[in-house]
C-alpha cells in the first residue's frame, strides 16, 4: 500500500491497550481494534481489499493553520471505481502535512491533512461528520469507533495520514434519521439510548459484530461491547437492543 510505504504501518499511539478483556474489571478495549491485537475481530485487521463504488468525488483543501473547509469540486457526478489498494497516489510530505484520500461513507475525499491530526478530528472538524464522538481522545472510551475496511477501530487512535486509501464507515454511513438501520431501529424501540454520547461507537461496533456473528449470545454481545464505555449505565437495554437487532 502506497500510504504505508511512506507513512509506515497503521499508527497506534497506545497499542498496549489492545489486550484481551476477559477479566470484567478494567478492560476497556474489548471488541474494538486499537492496533491489530486482541478482541474478537483481531483476525480481520488485514481485511481483503474491497471494491468500492462511489458516486461523488469531493476535493477538500486545507492548510495546517486554517480551520475553514473549502470544497473546490462539490458533488460532481463523476463515478469512479476504486479499490483500497490502488487509490492512493504517493503521499507527498509537505512540511507537516500529507495529501491523503479517504473514502468515507461511500464518498471519496482528497485531503491535505496536518500529520498530527487523528482520523476522528479530520472526520469531525474537516468533514463535518460530528456523529463520531470523542469522549477521551486516548483510546479508552470507544465512543469514536468507526469501521476501517469493515473493522471497528478507534478513530482517535489513528492518525489520519496513516489510513490514506482506506474505506471508512462512520455512524452517518450506517443509517440516517429518515432511514435508520435495523440496529438503530432496535435501539430506538428498546430504550437503548440515554444521553447518547456513547451510542454512535456502540452502533458501529454492533454493526461489525453482527456482520461477523449474526446470532450472538448475550455474553458475546457484552464482550463485544466491553470496549465501549457508557456512563449512563444503560447496558441492560443496550444489550437487549443488540439482541433484538440480531433476531
Amino acid at each position: 500500500m502506497a500510504a504505508e510505504k511512506v507513512m509506515g504501518k497503521k499508527i497506534s499511539r497506545r497499542k498496549f491497550l489492545g489486550v484481551s478483556t476477559a477479566a470484567a474489571v478494567g478492560g476497556v478495549v474489548g471488541g474494538i481494534i486499537v492496533g491489530a491485537v486482541g478482541g474478537y475481530l483481531a483476525g480481520q485487521a488485514a481485511a481483503p481489499a474491497a471494491t468500492v463504488t462511489s458516486t461523488t468525488t469531493k476535493t477538500v483543501t486545507q492548510t495546517a493553520a486554517a480551520t475553514t473547509m473549502t470544497v473546490t469540486q462539490p458533488a460532481t457526478t463523476v463515478t469512479t471505481t476504486v479499490t483500497t489498494t490502488k487509490t492512493v497516489t504517493p503521499v507527498p510530505e509537505v512540511g507537516y502535512t500529507s495529501l491523503i484520500t479517504l473514502n468515507v461513507n461511500g464518498v471519496d475525499y482528497a485531503l491535505l491533512v496536518d500529520n498530527r491530526w487523528s482520523l476522528a478530528d479530520v472526520l469531525r472538524e474537516k468533514l463535518g461528520l460530528t456523529g463520531t464522538k470523542t469522549g477521551c481522545d486516548r483510546g479508552e472510551c470507544g465512543a469514536c469507533a468507526v469501521l476501517v475496511d469493515g473493522v471497528p477501530m478507534l478513530s482517535c487512535m489513528l492518525l489520519a495520514c496513516s489510513v490514506s486509501g482506506r474505506k471508512i464507515t462512520t455512524i452517518e454511513g450506517i443509517g440516517s434519521v429518515g432511514k435508520l438501520d435495523k440496529i438503530q431501529q432496535a435501539f430506538m424501540n428498546n430504550e437503548g439510548v440515554q444521553c447518547g454520547m456513547c451510542i454512535p461507537g456502540i452502533i458501529v461496533v454492533t454493526k461489525a459484530l453482527l456482520e461477523k456473528n449474526p446470532k450472538p449470545t448475550e455474553a458475546e454481545v457484552k464482550e463485544a461491547l466491553s470496549g465501549n464505555l457508557c456512563k449512563c449505565g444503560n447496558w441492560p437495554f443496550i444489550v437487549k437492543s443488540v439482541l433484538e437487532a440480531a433476531k
Binding site: A23, A24, A65, C136, E172, G196, S226, G233, P236
Partner: protein, 748 residues
C-alpha cells in the same frame, strides 16, 4: 385518580423523541458545533497542589504563528471577578489551590497550535505546603487555603438533634462504634464539557454547550462579563452526560467568552479527559465517626455521628455527608449529628447524582447491617424492628407531616422479589479461604429533592391545528425530560401524545425552570407544565361551553374533543376551538407547598459472588424497588434505575480519584484508572415501582416524585452488605477493591 383512568401516564410506550437523531449521529452536543473562522482554546493548568503565582511570561506563546490571544491571571488583577456563589476567581492571580487549577488560557487557529503554545508560557510558581486529608486540614497548624480556618462549615450551622442521646445510650444493652470513609469520585461523563462561544449577528453572545442548567450559565456569564442577561443566549440540545458535573457556570465558559469578545471570533473549547477528571466537580471524601446504642432485641436507642467532609478548595455545595435524608428512614428516638466541611488542596466538590445521599446512604445502611451482624439477626428483620417511617409520620426535626411515604412497601416488595427469606443465610463463622462464595445484602434509601428555591416554569401554546407546544428552559440530559413533560400535558388535555411537542431548548425558547438536577424536573417543570395545562384546559372548556351552549361543569375532556357528559354525541373538537385567534397561551409556575419536603424511598437487594482467590466481586442479581409517587414514562424510569445501579457498582467496587501524597498530584485521572463498570459487569436487574396512593399536596403532575438520583445510592451498601454476608467482613472504606478483600481474607 387510579392507574386505570390514565390514558398515557405510565402507559405510553413509544420511543424517545430524540432517539432517532442520536442513533443516526445527527444530534449535536457542545463539541459538535462549528462556526467559520473559529478559534480553539487550551488551558494551562497548575502542576502544584498549592502555590503562589508570582510571574507569567506569555511572550513565547504570543510569538507563535497562529496564536491569537493569551489570558493570564494578572489580566484579572485590576478587576477580580468571582464565580457566582463560590470563592473561585476566573484565573487565580494570588495562588493556585489545587492540582490542575486553571492558570493561563490561549486561543489559536488550530487546536494543536494552541496545545503547543501552552508549553511556551513561562509561569513562575512559589510552591506552598499543601493539605489534602480532611482531618489533617482541621488541625490549627495545617496549611491554610484562605485567610482564617480551613473549616468552612462548623457544627453551629450544621447539627441535627432529636431526643437525648445520653439517655438513649444509658438505655442501651451494647454500644457499637466505628469509623467510615467514602472516596472521591468524578462523574466521568463520556462527553467531557465543551462549549462554542460567539458574538452573533443579533449582537448577542451565543453559547452552545452541554449543560444541565442553561440559565445558570447565562446568569454566571452576565455577572462575569457585566452584560445584561438578555444579551446572552445559551443553547443546549442535549448534554453528553451530566450527573451533576455540568450544573452551573465554570471558568472555561467565561474564558472562552472573554476571548470571543477580545478577538471577535468564535471560540471553541473542550475539557480533555484528564482535565475533566481532575478539575470537574467531584463527590467528595467523607470521614464519619459513628456510635450506636443498641438493645439486645435489635432496637437502636441512640445514634451519634461526627462527619468531616472534604470540601476541596472551593466551597459550593454543603457536604453534609452522613446527615442526609437517610435520617428519614428509621424513627430513631435519640440522635445527634455534627458536620464539618473543610477546605483542602484536592479538587472541586459538587453533586454527583445527588449531593450527599450516596455517601450518607452507604454509611447508615452499612452501619445498620453491622448492627444486625453484631446481634446475628436477619438484616431485614433488624430494619423492620427499627420503626421505619410510614404514611402520616412527622418530620422529627421540624414537626411537619411528611407527605407520601413508601419505605415499608419498598422493603416488603423487594424482599418478595429477591426471595430474601429463602436466600439469606447468616454470615459465615470463619472467613472463607478459597473458591467463589455468595452473599446477599439489602439497603434502604430516602431522598428529598426538588431544590425548592429554584424556579419551575413553562409556557404552553395551543397551535391552530390543535397541537400543543411546550416551552420550558428545563434541559434534557438524557433522562427523557421531553417525553415526561409531553405525557403530563397530553394527559391533562386529552391530546394524543404525538400532538404535544416540547420546543428545542435554549434560554430563548422557554422560561427558566431551574436546572435538571436534584431529581427535580418531572416534579418541578412537570408541575409547572401541569399548572399551565390546567389553564389551557379551563379555556378550552369555556370556549366549548359557549359553543355547545351548556354549563362548563357539564363538559368532559375526551380524546381530542370536549363533550357533554350527559350526551357524549354532543361534542366539539379541540382543533375547532383553537383554529383562530385569540390563541390559547398559558404560563404555568409552580411553587412547592411550604413546610413539606417530598421524599422518595427505595430498597435495593443485591446478590454477589466473591472470588476468594482473586478478590474480584461479581454482582449477579439486583432487585430495585422505588417509591416514586407515579410512573410517568415507564421505559425511562426503568432505564434510570438500571443506570443508577451500574453507577453504584462503580462506587462500591472500583471508582476512586487518588492523589499522590508526595506531590499532591492526581494519579488516577484516566478512564483506565478511574474505571466505570463495563458491559460485562451488568447484573440481572429486576425493577419495580411503588406508586404511592397518596397524591402529594399541590401536585399537578399526576403525583410523580423524582427518580434521577435515588437509584445510585442504595445499591452501594446493598453490595457491600452482600460482600460482608459472603465473607463475614465489613469494610470501613470505599471502594471495596480486590486488594482490600484479599487483605481481609489474609491472602496478601
Amino acid at each position: 385518580m387510579s392507574q386505570q383512568e390514565f390514558r398515557y401516564v405510565g402507559k405510553w410506550d413509544g420511543p424517545r423523541i430524540t432517539a432517532a437523531k442520536i442513533l443516526a449521529g445527527a444530534l449535536k452536543y457542545g463539541w459538535d458545533y462549528n462556526l467559520p473562522n473559529q478559534l480553539y482554546m487550551r488551558i494551562l493548568r497548575s502542576p502544584y497542589a498549592h502555590a503562589k503565582v508570582t510571574a507569567v511570561d506569555a511572550s513565547g506563546a504570543l510569538a507563535m504563528k497562529g496564536v491569537r490571544d493569551v489570558l493570564t491571571p494578572f489580566d484579572f488583577k485590576e478587576s477580580p471577578v468571582r464565580l457566582a456563589g463560590t470563592t473561585k476567581m476566573i484565573l487565580p492571580y494570588d495562588k493556585v489551590r489545587h492540582p490542575g487549577e486553571e492558570v493561563c488560557a490561549v486561543v489559536a487557529d488550530d487546536p494543536y497550535i494552541a496545545e503547543e503554545a501552552l508549553s511556551k508560557i513561562k509561569v513562575t510558581y512559589e510552591p506552598l505546603p499543601y493539605v489534602q486529608d480532611v482531618e489533617e486540614a482541621m488541625k490549627p497548624d495545617a496549611p491554610k487555603l484562605y485567610e482564617g480556618s480551613n473549616i468552612v462549615r462548623t457544627p453551629t450551622t450544621a447539627t441535627y438533634k432529636v431526643g437525648d442521646t445520653a439517655k438513649g445510650f444509658a438505655e442501651a444493652d451494647l454500644t457499637v462504634e466505628f469509623k467510615l470513609k467514602s472516596q472521591t469520585i468524578q462523574h466521568n461523563n463520556i462527553g467531557t464539557w465543551a462549549c462554542l462561544v460567539s458574538w452573533e449577528k443579533d449582537g448577542r453572545l451565543h453559547v452552545w454547550t452541554d449543560v444541565q442548567y442553561m440559565f445558570g450559565i447565562r446568569s454566571g456569564l452576565a455577572d462575569a462579563l457585566n452584560i445584561p442577561q438578555s444579551r446572552i443566549c445559551v443553547h443546549a440540545e442535549l448534554c453528553g452526560g451530566g450527573f451533576g458535573d455540568k450544573t452551573g457556570i465554570e471558568r472555561h465558559i467565561i474564558l472562552a467568552a472573554i476571548f470571543a469578545t477580545r478577538t471577535g471570533r468564535p471560540v471553541k473549547y473542550k475539557l480533555t479527559r484528564e482535565d475533566n477528571l481532575i478539575v470537574g466537580k467531584h463527590r467528595w471524601t467523607c470521614v464519619s465517626y459513628l456510635k450506636f446504642g443498641l438493645k439486645k432485641d435489635g432496637l437502636v436507642t441512640a445514634f451519634e455521628a461526627k462527619n468531616y467532609s472534604n470540601a476541596g478548595p472551593f466551597y459550593s455545595v454543603s457536604g453534609s455527608g452522613i446527615a442526609t435524608e437517610q435520617i428519614y428512614i428509621y424513627k430513631w428516638p435519640n440522635f445527634y449529628i455534627e458536620c464539618y466541611d473543610v477546605y483542602t488542596n484536592t479538587c472541586t466538590t459538587g453533586p454527583l447524582r445527588c449531593v450527599a445521599d450516596p455517601i450518607g446512604c452507604w454509611m447508615i445502611e452499612t452501619a445498620m447491617d453491622r448492627l444486625a451482624y453484631q446481634l446475628n439477626m436477619d438484616p431485614i428483620q433488624f430494619r423492620l424492628k427499627n420503626n421505619m417511617f410510614t404514611q402520616g409520620d412527622k418530620d422529627p426535626l421540624t414537626g411537619y407531616r411528611i407527605p407520601s411515604i413508601g419505605q415499608p412497601q419498598c422493603i416488603n416488595r423487594a424482599r418478595e422479589l429477591a426471595e430474601w427469606d429463602k436466600k439469606w443465610k447468616p454470615w459465615p463463622k470463619t472467613k472463607p479461604t478459597s473458591g467463589v462464595v455468595r452473599g446477599i445484602g439489602v439497603a434502604n434509601h430516602c431522598c428529598g429533592h426538588g431544590a425548592g428555591s429554584l424556579p419551575n416554569a413553562a409556557v404552553l401554546v395551543m397551535n391552530p391545528d390543535g397541537t400543543l407546544t411546550i416551552y420550558t428552559g428545563a434541559a434534557d440530559i438524557g433522562n427523557a425530560r421531553r417525553e415526561q413533560l409531553a405525557i403530563i400535558a397530553a394527559e391533562h388535555l386529552g391530546l394524543p401524545y404525538g400532538k404535544v411537542t416540547v420546543a428545542n431548548y435554549s434560554t430563548d425558547t422557554g422560561p427558566d425552570s431551574g436546572g435538571t438536577f436534584g431529581s427535580r424536573q418531572t416534579k418541578s417543570a412537570g408541575n409547572a407544565v401541569g399548572v399551565a395545562a390546567l389553564q389551557v384546559r379551563d379555556q378550552l372548556l369555556e370556549r366549548a361551553a359557549a359553543r355547545l351552549k351548556v354549563a362548563k361543569e357539564d363538559l368532559r375532556v375526551g380524546e381530542e374533543k370536549i363533550y357533554v357528559a350527559a350526551d357524549p354525541s354532543k361534542s366539539v373538537t379541540i382543533r375547532e376551538l383553537v383554529a383562530s385567534p385569540p390563541w390559547i397561551i398559558a404560563a404555568g409556575q409552580w411553587t412547592p407547598p411550604p413546610n413539606t419536603t417530598q421524599r422518595t424511598y427505595a430498597t435495593h437487594i443485591a446478590e454477589v459472588e466473591v472470588d476468594c482467590d482473586t478478590g474480584l466481586v461479581n454482582v449477579v442479581r439486583v432487585v430495585a424497588v422505588h417509591d416514586i409517587g407515579r410512573v410517568i414514562y415507564r421505559k425511562s424510569c426503568i432505564s434510570q434505575v438500571h443506570g443508577g445501579i451500574i453507577q453504584g457498582i462503580g462506587m462500591a467496587l472500583q471508582e476512586e480519584l487518588l492523589f499522590d501524597p508526595q506531590t499532591g498530584r492526581c494519579y488516577s485521572a484516566s478512564m483506565l484508572d478511574h474505571k466505570m463498570p463495563i458491559s460485562m459487569q451488568t447484573p440481572e436487574i429486576i425493577v419495580d415501582f411503588v406508586e404511592n396512593p397518596e397524591q402529594p399536596p399541590d401536585s399537578y403532575n399526576h403525583g410523580a416524585k423524582g427518580l434521577g438520583e435515588p437509584p445510585t445510592s442504595p445499591i452501594v451498601p446493598a453490595i457491600t452488605n452482600a460482600i460482608a454476608n459472603a465473607i463475614g467482613v465489613y469494610f470501613d472504606s470505599l471502594p471495596v477493591t480486590p486488594d482490600k478483600i484479599l487483605k481481609a481474607l489474609g491472602k496478601v
